[in-house]
Symmetry: none
Subunit: 402 residues, 2 copies
């Protein structure tokens, strides 16, 4: 049990204050050359810069020094859950990413369509990267599979990727992948890695038996492999830990799923940041905490497009006045990790973070960027402590000890 | 088991990159008076200063704030082993320090020659600090001792100090010192502190019985006491944790021994930093990771000779171009602890650290010194995380979680 959660449960209080956590996904960056500026430092961010004068800045370490997190651990950290304690399996994340409402009796699996040759060996682990429409049609066929004692759900993700969910009592989530990670060999049978997952392995093998029959004429997608078989982690709810009614406003399914993982209320976010702001205003009285997710600072970074990431950062900046109009007691702007365009990938670099509240000790910052954050009053801190700071600045934590 | 090691084992990948860890022993220092400069800041270090522009600086905390480490924990931290988890006994360190190749069945003991009076009480705990030649001759005599079931090795260290090793099956390392830490009292018998060390205690007492007979006419060194009785710690190898083929280039035996403790390959280092650079170049293709140790920044600090430490720091700086010629993906320059000339001893002060790589987020530094490192992008960090940063910057770590 995370010690920070116990501290919060024992010391939290209700005071009607509001906290907004605005996450620019992959917000942190790198300069393209020594002496240069990062994406955030290059972007014109007049609203964030103005906000620094009544905020404290710092750099958030998502997991540990040197560890580049995926979206799951990155967000768990921001939500105040130790990402080394709560682990999210690949199948679970994939299901969250298509807005599938996973429950506690569900085993989620990431599936890959593959091609089997005449001898039954895998000749293509991605089934020639079939079009998404074809993948969707095959999923509709597989979704008809019946297995006694469990419900079976098969949903398309994209191209050759799909999600399978088995729902039933007593299903463990500890089953090895059936993907042999090689071609020229047959797919593996599902094998339980613990006694309580034997039933799951049997169901998976029955599913594969039926699927092989159903798909036999659908080459190149004439079979599939199963990966990342797992259940939802046992995780305390956001409301139980913080006593906050939390609303999540995220355009992308993955982030709605991550919010749902800790039982936040997922709100209709529309398609744009403007839509998200409209929803925020409409829901303002209904929640104490808002998680707002902005994807495009990450996707442009992943594309290696420095200039596009700069533009998207400016877009993020433009929503700040609309949030401030609502007068949240605490506004945090940060990222779940860095995604430097220079690296075209998530990275381990600490993430620029701004916390604005009436109780801030100011650090002399005048602009929001990695260099200013390095000199900021929050210092470098593990992301899992951010929510404690939010609760404190919101006046929602009593003192510890007499 | 250190969590960082598990993270690295699960996420590391091979990419042919090279990491160089250059350790200036005791590199950190203090100004002689308030407002002054440290040894490193006084030294002319044009190569390190130039390197800061494409590096990130920081301050490494060897163990915990306020803890001044010995060479063992100092280096274990740099190698990424938690020095509070892996403890090295004094006897083991002494054996490593004379290049004795300790094995897993060995119990290593630090011995001190002492003087017994006619009543059998200790009158001098250091046997009048006998000359090293005399100590060596006495060791040669003691090395003849035979004890059934074990091999006995006795080796001189310096003056009154020696190393005794018992080699055999089933020898525990948990035996109390026989040095009573006082004069006017007899030496203690060896006493086991756990059941599995009873055999070791019996052997030690038989060794002492024979030694008393052999040394009886050798006053002032007519007996010896045993201290720091211990075995090698069970420690995962550097290659098993990091997947790196590691070469150690250290002039002093102690540091070769510390490298050997984690199963690095100990390479012939010659006698000078130039010799070490020659060896580095010759071995460049044979290893992924190089640990290069430079002793004299520590020994001059221990001597309290500020100016000599400055000169030795300049010598260290002069080898940087030779390392850069080889184009390592990651070059780290740091120390295992601080040794301020002002204190004439190891200290707990955080250690200036420079990490140069293409993936650095630059921090505006223009020179390598304690003040610049305090403002550096690595912040203040526990030394045990340095190798995770090295692995990340070398592109050798996959992301954590999906």
């Amino acid at each position: 049990m995370t010690i920070t959660h116990d501290l919060i449960r024992e010391h939290r209080k209700e005071n009607g204050s509001k906290i907004v956590l605005l996450v620019g996904d992959g917000l942190g960056g790198l300069p393209l050359a020594p002496g240069g500026k990062t994406e955030l430092e290059t972007a014109k961010t007049p609203n964030l810069d103005a906000l620094t004068k009544r905020a404290t800045l710092g750099l958030s370490i998502p997991v540990l020094p040197g560890i580049a997190p995926g979206s799951g651990p990155g967000h768990l950290g921001l939500f105040g859950y130790d990402p080394l304690e709560y682990k999210i399996g690949r199948g679970v994340l994939e299901a969250l990413g298509i807005d599938f409402a996973l429950g506690p009796n569900d085993v989620a699996i990431r599936g890959n369509y593959c091609t089997l040759d005449a001898a039954g060996n895998i000749s293509d682990r991605r089934a020639g990267r079939i079009a998404s429409e074809i993948g969707a049609k095959l999923c509709a066929k597989l979704d008809q599979i019946k297995i006694p004692g469990v419900e079976v759900f098969v949903r398309p993700v994209k191209e050759y990727r799909l999600v399978i969910v088995f729902r039933g009592e007593g299903l463990g989530g500890n089953v090895a992948d059936t993907d042999p990670q090689a071609t020229g060999v047959p797919p593996l049978a599902a094998e339980a890695r613990s006694d309580c997952s034997k039933k799951t392995a049997e169901i998976a093998n029955e599913f594969l038996r039926q699927a092989r029959e159903i798909l036999k004429d659908d080459a190149p997608a004439n079979f599939l492999t199963l990966r990342g078989i797992d259940k939802l982690p046992a995780i305390p709810t956001f409301q139980e830990v913080y006593g906050l009614r939390a609303g999540a406003i995220a355009v992308y399914p993955m982030y709605r799923g991550l919010a749902r993982l800790v039982s936040m209320n997922v709100l209709d976010a529309g398609q744009t940041l403007d839509d998200q702001m409209t929803r925020l205003k409409a829901e303002w009285d209904n929640f104490d905490f808002f998680f707002i997710h902005f994807k495009y600072t990450d996707s442009t970074g992943e594309d290696g497009n420095f200039d596009a990431k700069v533009k998207r950062t400016e877009e993020l900046d433009s929503c700040i006045p609309k949030i401030l109009e609502l007068k949240p007691e605490v506004l945090i702007v940060t990222g779940d990790h860095s995604t430097p365009a220079k690296m075209k990938s998530h990275s381990w670099h600490p993430v620029p973070t701004l916390l604005a509240a009436d109780t801030c000790r100011f650090d002399g910052s005048t602009e929001f960027g990695e260099s200013a954050c390095l000199r900021g009053g929050l210092g470098q801190f593990e992301a899992k402590y951010l929510m404690m700071l939010a609760m404190a600045h919101a006046g929602r934590l009593d003192k510890y000890g007499a």
